[in-house]
């Protein structure tokens, strides 16, 4: 009789101790993994892969300019508390080392662009870049390479996420890093990532189709910030960035004249603004050449949640839409 009571009592305890619980090691209050992403696009990707298991903080928020970002003590504190820090790499975050040292960050540092084939910004481009990208991409025209002046040195272009193919590399890097830090969530991460990758593939297909519909002669644009190199390569669009017209340096009259001449001669139909720099010079160029101002393209940051590009995939949807709207007419 006593044994049965003990057994019953013991069983009751066991059952009470695990309400609804099925698997061993599954707790009710599990602490989320603390992740910090350097800028909004990475932040969005990490949220998609991490799901409920990860709490993501982004340093350079929507519409922010990571090139001129200056971290605050609050940022250092956020980083110090984090388990994992995602950065783009390729020289995008000039402030990263300073912040890491200042915060005494001891977690995992993940460079999401690992494994991406970088392109060189406005320097000579190497042919093997085009070959190595495999069948996922139309073979880039030599003409696209020559869109960049051979002036200026071989600076790596950090905006690798502008190609969805690279985006997938980012996602797999993020997934693998999260698994390494939080092996218990492996299934979740793999499931989330697989779903996301499928969505990316779909978007990639959509963008290609949209661009393919445009007449070939009209597949060129001018944009103020040299951030669309990867996009142009991947989707067959010629990007001309006015030299010297960026957040840092001041333009010369010769540069502006060259762009205007080029637009006139090559009949480039549209000029695009980018959401972080001063638009006046571009407005001036557009009004003088009759090129259309095609609207805003999102390059280095997502828009706010009420804007047209609150997520990575929305960004592509918006950019592709703006491009086709301006170039098809």
């Amino acid at each position: 009789m006593q044994n049965r009571l003990v057994a019953l009592f013991g069983a009751a305890l066991l059952l009470l101790g695990q309400p609804g619980g099925v698997q061993a090691g599954d707790q009710v209050t599990r602490e989320k993994l603390k992740a910090v992403a350097s800028f909004s696009i990475l932040g969005d990707m990490v949220k998609n892969v991490g799901g409920d298991r990860v709490e993501v903080t982004t340093l350079v928020g929507p519409n922010g300019d990571a090139h001129v970002f200056s971290p605050t003590p609050a940022d250092a504190k956020t980083l110090a508390d984090a388990d994992i820090f995602f950065v783009n790499g390729l020289g995008f975050e000039g402030w990263m080392e300073r912040l890491e040292n200042a915060s005494g960050f001891t977690g995992a540092l993940v460079v999401t662009s690992g494994g991406v084939m970088p392109i060189v910004m406005r320097g000579e481009r190497h042919d093997h870049d085009a070959e190595d990208r495999g069948g996922e991409q139309d073979h880039a025209d030599q003409a696209e390479n020559e869109a960049y002046d051979s002036q200026g040195g071989g600076n790596t272009d950090p905006h690798a996420w502008q190609s969805l193919f690279n985006g997938k590399i980012y996602v797999t890097n993020i997934r693998d890093a999260l698994i390494a830090v939080d092996p218990e969530g492996q299934e979740t991460y793999e499931a989330n990532a697989a779903k996301y990758l499928t969505a990316i593939d779909a978007e990639d297909k959509a963008v290609r189709e949209a661009i393919a519909k445009l007449p070939e002669a009209r597949r060129k644009i001018i944009t103020s910030h040299d951030a669309f190199g990867y996009f142009g390569n991947a989707y067959g669009l010629e990007i001309v960035a006015p030299e010297g017209v960026s957040t840092e340096s001041e333009a010369s009259a010769q540069d502006v004249a060259k762009i205007i001449r080029q637009i006139r001669e090559e009949k480039i139909p549209a000029v695009f603004l980018e959401n972080v720099t001063d638009r006046r010079l571009l407005d001036q160029i557009a009004s003088e050449t009759g090129a259309k101002i095609g609207g805003v393209l999102y390059s280095d940051a997502l828009s706010g949640s009420d804007g047209p590009a609150p997520t990575y995939l929305d960004m592509f949807r918006h950019n592709a839409g703006a491009l086709t709207a301006a170039l098809s007419s």
Binding site: G64, T72, A251, S252, A253, Q254, R280, L281, Q284, E288
Partner: protein, 288 residues
């Protein structure tokens, strides 16, 4: 030769607009610069470039990246600093330069704090400061309007202003115009600077205001003459700078200011009033 000089302006609208904008600013900024130099307030332009930050920040906080809001805010902040500095200098023991330094530093610090509060890393002042190559209709109208207003105001307060610079005690003893003239002048300074920043960027705005004025000292003996020389040299320097930027592929703002600087150095040596070269040459003295 003429063709080389003229061709860029024929071919490109942006060059023509830059020319018109430069002409307008060359009419309005140098006269003010002459008075700044005579009153020993030459560093005010630089101070103003920093002082406008909290105003631009508030404009940004309220209306986002709206050039209008930020310029208006910047103007208000600049005006507040200039007027406060002017009033303090007139009614306390603090002199004009110290007074301005005090206020603009406070303003700048306030601005930096406001910008950081938003948490965004948009370089506000960078967005606010323009370039002479990007003068749209709005900017041209703004400069033209301010040029007109400044010239008219200067014409009206010319005599009291000269006296206020030369012998403020005497002006106070014969007229009630002393304070209003001083404060009106400060308003003109801030107006021209803020419009200049917005249209042309800080370097060109401050440079066009001061360098021709400093150089003019070597050519003229009276205020009117100095103003004339300053205006002409400002405009010629602008044209030179634009052409150099076009043919030699260097940024325009610095090119214009370096042209002004070259004229300044030239004036220092061969200017007819006090040029160094003349004092080195042996010349017979006059009879009286």
């Amino acid at each position: 030769m003429i063709d080389t000089l003229v061709q860029p302006f024929i071919e490109f609208a942006f060059m023509r607009r830059a020319l018109v904008g430069s002409l307008a600013i060359s009419l309005t900024a140098p006269p003010i610069g002459v008075f700044l130099v005579l009153r020993r307030m030459s560093l005010m332009g630089d101070a103003m470039g920093h002082a406008i930050l909290p105003g631009a920040a508030i404009g940004y906080l309220l209306a986002g990246l709206s050039l209008f809001a930020m310029s208006l805010g910047g103007f208000a902040a600049g005006l507040a600093v200039a007027l406060a500095a002017g009033l303090v200098a007139r009614s306390t023991v603090i002199r004009e330069d110290a007074s301005l330094a005090g206020f603009y530093l406070v303003s700048l610090a306030l601005g930096v704090m406001l910008v950081s509060m938003r948490g965004n890393s948009v370089d506000l002042l960078h967005v606010l400061f323009g370039t002479v190559l990007a003068l749209d209709d709005g900017a041209l109208l703004l400069i033209a309007a301010i040029a007109t207003a400044s010239l008219v105001t200067l014409a009206v307060i010319y005599r009291p202003l000269v006296l206020e610079c030369f012998d403020p005690q005497f002006l106070r003893s014969v007229s009630a115009w002393s304070s209003p003239t001083h404060l009106l002048f400060l308003v003109l300074v801030v107006l021209n600077l803020v419009a200049g920043f917005q249209a042309l960027g800080t370097l060109m705005a401050v440079g066009i205001m001061l360098l021709p004025a400093v150089a003019a000292r070597f050519w003229a003996e009276d205020v009117g003459g100095m103003i004339g020389v300053a205006i002409v040299s400002a405009f010629l320097s602008s044209v030179t700078g634009l052409l150099v930027s076009y043919y030699v592929n260097v940024p325009t703002g610095p090119a214009v200011i370096l042209a002004c600087g070259a004229f300044y150095l030239l004036s220092m040596f061969v200017g007819v009033r006090g040029g160094v070269l003349w004092s080195l040459l042996p010349r017979k003295h006059l009879e009286a």
